[in-house]
Point group: C2
Chain length 604, copies 2
Amino acid sequence: MPLFFLHPHVVPSLSLSLPPPSLYIYISVCIAEYISSRAEGKKEKMVEKVIAKWNCSGRVVEGPTNPMVTPLLTDLYQFTMAYAYWKANKHQERAVFDLYFRKNPFGGEYTVFAGLEECIRLIANFKFTEDEISFIREILPGSCEDGFFDYLRGLDCSEVQVYAIAEGSVVFPKVPLLRIEGPIAVAQLLETPLVNLVNFASLVATNAARHRFVAGKSKQLLEFGLRRAQGPDGGISASKYCYLGGFDATSNVAAGKLFGIPLRGTHSHAFVSSYMSPDEIIDKSLQSADGSSSCEDFVSLVQTWINKFQLSNSLRGIFGETNQSELAAFTSYALAFPRSFLALVDTYDVMRSGIPNFCAVALALNDLGYKAVGIRLDSGDLAYLSCEARKFFSAVEKEFGVPGFGKTGITASNDLNEETLDALNKQGHEVDSYGIGTYLVTCYAQAALGCVFKLVEINNQPRIKLSEDVSKVSIPCKKRSYRLYGREGYPLVDIMTGGNEPSPKVGERILCRHPFNESKRAYVVPQKVEELLKCYWPGSSDEPREDLPPLKDIRDRCIKQLERMRPDHMRRLNPTPYKVSVSAKLYDFIHFLWLNEAPVGELQ
Amino acid sequence: MPLFFLHPHVVPSLSLSLPPPSLYIYISVCIAEYISSRAEGKKEKMVEKVIAKWNCSGRVVEGPTNPMVTPLLTDLYQFTMAYAYWKANKHQERAVFDLYFRKNPFGGEYTVFAGLEECIRLIANFKFTEDEISFIREILPGSCEDGFFDYLRGLDCSEVQVYAIAEGSVVFPKVPLLRIEGPIAVAQLLETPLVNLVNFASLVATNAARHRFVAGKSKQLLEFGLRRAQGPDGGISASKYCYLGGFDATSNVAAGKLFGIPLRGTHSHAFVSSYMSPDEIIDKSLQSADGSSSCEDFVSLVQTWINKFQLSNSLRGIFGETNQSELAAFTSYALAFPRSFLALVDTYDVMRSGIPNFCAVALALNDLGYKAVGIRLDSGDLAYLSCEARKFFSAVEKEFGVPGFGKTGITASNDLNEETLDALNKQGHEVDSYGIGTYLVTCYAQAALGCVFKLVEINNQPRIKLSEDVSKVSIPCKKRSYRLYGREGYPLVDIMTGGNEPSPKVGERILCRHPFNESKRAYVVPQKVEELLKCYWPGSSDEPREDLPPLKDIRDRCIKQLERMRPDHMRRLNPTPYKVSVSAKLYDFIHFLWLNEAPVGELQ
């Protein structure tokens, strides 16, 4: 009996990797649902659904990370259209939609595809609750027939198939990221949430990749954007997809827990100004790093270092007296975290107070066998201050014979973006890590990616969406897409073909045509051919399903793919566009259909 | 016994307005928890907590709308600081933080404050789960002491007080939107989520208000941004706060359900291109509006209208033949929604196909006593096309004697923003409603508002945060703020005073000083004095708590406040800055503290 309380759509959300007991529970629930479904004579359907969910890979697809991602997270017109389709008995007609974008963001020539896993999670668990159905009934006109709501009640994605490019891939305009095949009414309901889930994910992952490109491989990149992000899961999504795009860590604890992203953070300005003077510190004792001895008065030990600095010929004169509130805060923080002491040094004055105070505490820690991690600069001229800090650290290393102290870490974090990173590189700096927030997570330079979802075929009839703006004309047909690689190992061109055309072959010359510009075409002899769209959701069909890899693997894929691109596509200034093409046959067909659909004007 | 399964933190999320039975359950749970707490000897504490939650207003504060808003939705450094405070036995020290922004967004001189309710929902339900505590233990160094985690286990916001400006108010830089008072460790943990919840909410509400300002009061404003928003609740938050800022409706069904926002939407281009020809339509019958008769072949009725257009002298020549796929789609949609027929007319060609097809269907509906709602334009020159469409509608009204047809609604929706609305106004247009998406919901013109959270007092000691950039210097002290109104009823100036200063009085002259610019000051004789900060969360204190009004009321407040502003603060081009000031006493104190904290330089 209690089994019936565990609805199968609840079970998958119980844990990320189901341990064996959950598997048993899940199967029990399936059996329970199977028994109840048999009573309703829906046996076959039920078995299909169970197979679809507990798929070939033997893994259940969890629900969306954000519980607010439900089948209601869509535009009203998807429901009005669904009703109109249902009313015309057209809702089961098989449609093919392409999800793609038209232009790379940030003035660049590449995009990182992200958001696929969340799309599949939604699709795999797509089911209306009674409460949701009541609400839809409430918002549609009273004249809508009951049968439609029964239809919604039975709706899921078992008749839908989703083909997609692997998440974390480098992708280009016009090439479908996802191809959704299924009954037109369901496919349309999916439009808004899928576009939503891909748009920002891909945008912010691309932004992260671009920041990594400018910062260089050797720097640590930390995402610090939660407070400035567009809403709570604007923040959570940003943390996830910035990691995917090549960042090393986040400050966002919830994202760390949800996705296993490394976490970073130490203290703020408020922490510094919450202290008045070192006299406040009551428990002043600190054990040495190896536990062999104990310093009874760490506060005094720090003070002796301040005094030594003031007596030192090479350091004196940089500061008169350091801020005592700051010194107290640093000392207190070191007492709490002697092994990971990193201090924010710009609350009062970086060179006159923050740096000497940090060094005094760091050297006191050093006396006890601990190694300070470093400083964070959050204002001012970061290039200049990082160089000055480095000089001070080196001077301390030399003056007091502390090996390695010159290499103490320097993190910078004030309103950084691609441009400021580039400017820092040009000026010369000594920063080891960047904490990047606002500009990264809100994609300030371009706050939206224009993904679209276009009908390309219905009942095996290709469809085209025309527009006076050629870049907005859709490429019709259920297509296949390939990435062709050249002799040097770089991807040369993406090509789309009709679904039934033979695939391009290694070593065989193929004509690649610009989809809309007659004169732009090139022969390519690929050295490697990669089919881009794989099946990520087979519905109840028996097509094998691609696994949804862990975030870490998606990140690795992204980093590898970015490294494999020809450098001129990647540069910040005037990058070379990567070529996206169609086969000769598809080209002819597009233009045949175009002329067929466009009305002929009449000049008067 | 079953009562124990209903944890009180679960109960509040059961429904938005608790019906009486839930109240009984809630009280039972409180009693149950009270009994169990008595066993642990925490009686007084428990009673306090129950009072704090089931507050003077007699209403429980629900949990955050987005279940992902938990105490973990914060930066790691809030936890490392909390540990350092705890370790130094400083965590219970009473701190005062101000949450404010430094600069109005979008080049304007005003901001709409939003996000308060979600902040209070978080605060009222702030409690770590065991799972969350385990995770925090995992990410902090192993050396952190157990006592800290026990402390976290007992943590809630019963010792916190929150004062805030009413949500939906027009607000200005530097004036605290929220003042958080409480133990420093808890207040710091709240920093990131509160800033997150206020930042985007206020930004997008302000953006909506600005769009409304340009569009004018008489236009319908529809938010259509879900698919382009920054993540799922980027979309949901945008829908909520655009409504707050003066929009009329959203396309986002989930937001409609969550917040009771009116919903709008009809069909997409894909719906149009999913049809091939009117022959597809099988069920062609349509009852008349009054139910008195039935048209057996609505498809033919539509066709007769197309024929009439082609024979008409005043209309012919505008088009040769309309697209049959489009005509089929419109007809089918009208059969499903005869009372709310609104057609997207730009799939093939607005004037040659979309408009005549729409009119044929609309007039066929008219024959049966229905009134078509209108058209939507989603591409091309919206000013020109709306005028041409209006002309066609008027010609139809005249030619066929259909009263009111000339006033058929025109909605426009392609990549609109403040600038394009302004340009449309300048060109002259016939648009009645705007559907606005990308630029509105992502705040494309400025994707982030820079709210900050600054320590202004600890243990009754005022604190200041210095910066080389004067605009970043914080205003110390636990303050009170007032809005002073002039003779014409407009707000004149906001003034901050020390907490113990007497409040400004109506008719009494008061000196208002710029906080940092010595020479900028003015005497004001207020005609009305409004205290801005009210108590929205008293914790376990017995201070009366402001109600959290329904969204509709917040929206009304916003609209009223915007209307009450002096027009020169509101204009798009070179608006006059609204004055924000401090009292003479506070001015002196700020500068005393500043000199006290800033190190004196030494020139060499």
